[in-house]
Amino acid sequence: MKDVFTMWRHTQLVVLVALSAAIYAAVLIPFQGFTIVPGYISIRPANVFPVVFGLLFGPAGAWGAAIGNLIGDFFGTLSLGSVGGFVGNFFLALLPYKMWSAYFRSDENIETNVNSGKKLGVYIAVVVVASVVCAVIISWWVALLGFIPFQVTLPLIVFNNAIMAGVLGPVLLLALYPRVKRWGLLWTEIMEPEEVSASSSRLRGIGNVLVWVGGIGGAVVGLILSLTGASPMGASLGLALIPFLIVIVVGAFMLGGRDQVEVAQEMIAGEGEESEA
């Protein structure tokens, strides 16, 4: 996951962090969408942006989603719960771009423009797992603080993130990907291969499985513990879910991402040779 740190060397990506954060926060405020739990959870159109930012801007999108969610809290509900929102939204944007190439063979097109049936299927899969992981992180945190029970927040956050990203995301990516590529702002075109973690196809597959296990496992175990009253909340539930959070992070580390950058660099080099010819 060294790309989340090395990206700060590139001014374009620093600017994209700021712009992504600003867009996310700005769209959160006026377009409140539909309120589910007043003061806590609303279905907000802006929830599509973390996944889209991640697929287009990579680590810059992840930081932008995290900071944007925090800034959105600045305009009314900044509290200790915002820490969970920061980390949860970071992973909501990080996982889609990290997991993307794990579903494709080396001879397939792995651009994140969702312009084929397979790409749409992969998109839905990464949206689902990223939404679950985000929900597990946020629900774990607010349950640890004793604010809201795990079984209340988890399904609402999963539903909120997945439905917005699932319905709006593909169309948004189809519209935005060509533009972002033309502007030279795809993360795979800005970063250098050595700045991104390398990972073999086998390791990516294992990392992919670990993220699914950590996310779905954490959700199921958390729900069982909180619904049955086996874990009285707070520290007990918090401790019980830590192994799943560790599995998610380990899986994310194994996913690499350098292959996507190398493919993009080859495409740019190829296009450059064609234009010279």
Partner: protein, 259 residues
């Protein structure tokens, strides 16, 4: 429309170093967790409101009162239903569960009001410089401060685009949930494109001014922690220590509550 909570006043709270205010904010996030009893939480709330009064920032409560009210209501009801206790109150609600719900609701409200006071008394530039002085890398602090500055502009852009699209027949309120969600696309795409297309120009402007050229950056805004900051921090640490001592002596707890 300015969504920012900052209030341009000249109070001693405004003049505190941003790092002091950040430490106070973290402390105010921790203080409500010392107690479980709602009456003690009310005392902490009174303290926070008094601090907000001194900072002349309570006027911002008008903007978030509905959120606070709903948090109080929903949280209290939720824990009253889910929790259980020894003393039946009415129907299936026990007194200890109700008290726990109230206590949790007050904790959340206290942290939100503390956040509101922090944002009411700290400019965006001070937030950025405070982060840098605390050792956060400048580029990260720059991204945060830039995003904070751009939010009102993008909100205005978004509202303008919304009005323009509605004048062209965009209807955000009718249809089933999927249709209503899809109807937001004509708003999201222009907001995104309008903002992101300036990235390259923005980057070139930054680099032409030496952004990231070297370490040891200087700042236009000067901040320094003084005697007042030290006094405030010592007073708060004493308050926190006293609260913890009170709790350890057996006060402020909530006996009989279970999940």
């Amino acid at each position: 429309m300015d969504p920012s909570l900052y209030l341009d006043r000249d109070t001693w709270v405004h003049r505190l170093d941003p790092r002091t205010k950040m430490f106070l904010l973290l402390g105010m996030f921790a203080l409500p967790f010392v107690f479980l009893n709602p009456f003690y939480e009310l005392a902490v709330l009174a303290l926070v409101l008094f601090f907000g009064y001194l900072a002349e920032s309570l006027v911002n409560l008008r903007r978030i009162w509905f959120i606070l009210f709903m948090i109080l209501l929903v949280t209290t009801i939720l824990w009253s239903i889910i929790g259980s206790g020894r003393t039946p109150l009415f129907l299936f609600v026990e007194r200890e569960a109700l008290f726990y719900g109230l206590s949790t609701a007050l904790r959340i409200v206290i942290t939100v009001i503390a956040g509101m006071i922090f944002l009411s008394t700290t400019r965006n530039e001070e937030v950025a410089i405070g982060l840098v002085r605390l050792g956060i890398p400048y580029r990260f602090a720059f991204a945060v401060s830039t995003a904070l500055r751009l939010v009102p502009t993008i909100v205005a852009t978004g509202l303008t685009i919304g009005e323009a699209q509605r004048s062209r027949g965009l209807d955000l309120d009718s249809g089933n949930i999927i249709q209503r969600i899809r109807n937001h696309l004509p708003l999201l795409v222009p907001v995104f494109v309008t903002t992101v297309r300036s990235t390259n120009v923005f980057s070139m402007a930054l680099e032409s001014k030496g952004f990231g050229a070297g370490s040891g950056r200087t700042f236009f805004l000067h901040t320094a922690m003084g005697g007042r900051d030290a006094l405030v921090l010592v007073a708060f640490v004493a308050l926190l220590a006293g609260s913890i001592a009170l709790r350890m002596a057996g006060y402020g707890g909530l006996e009989g509550f279970t999940r």
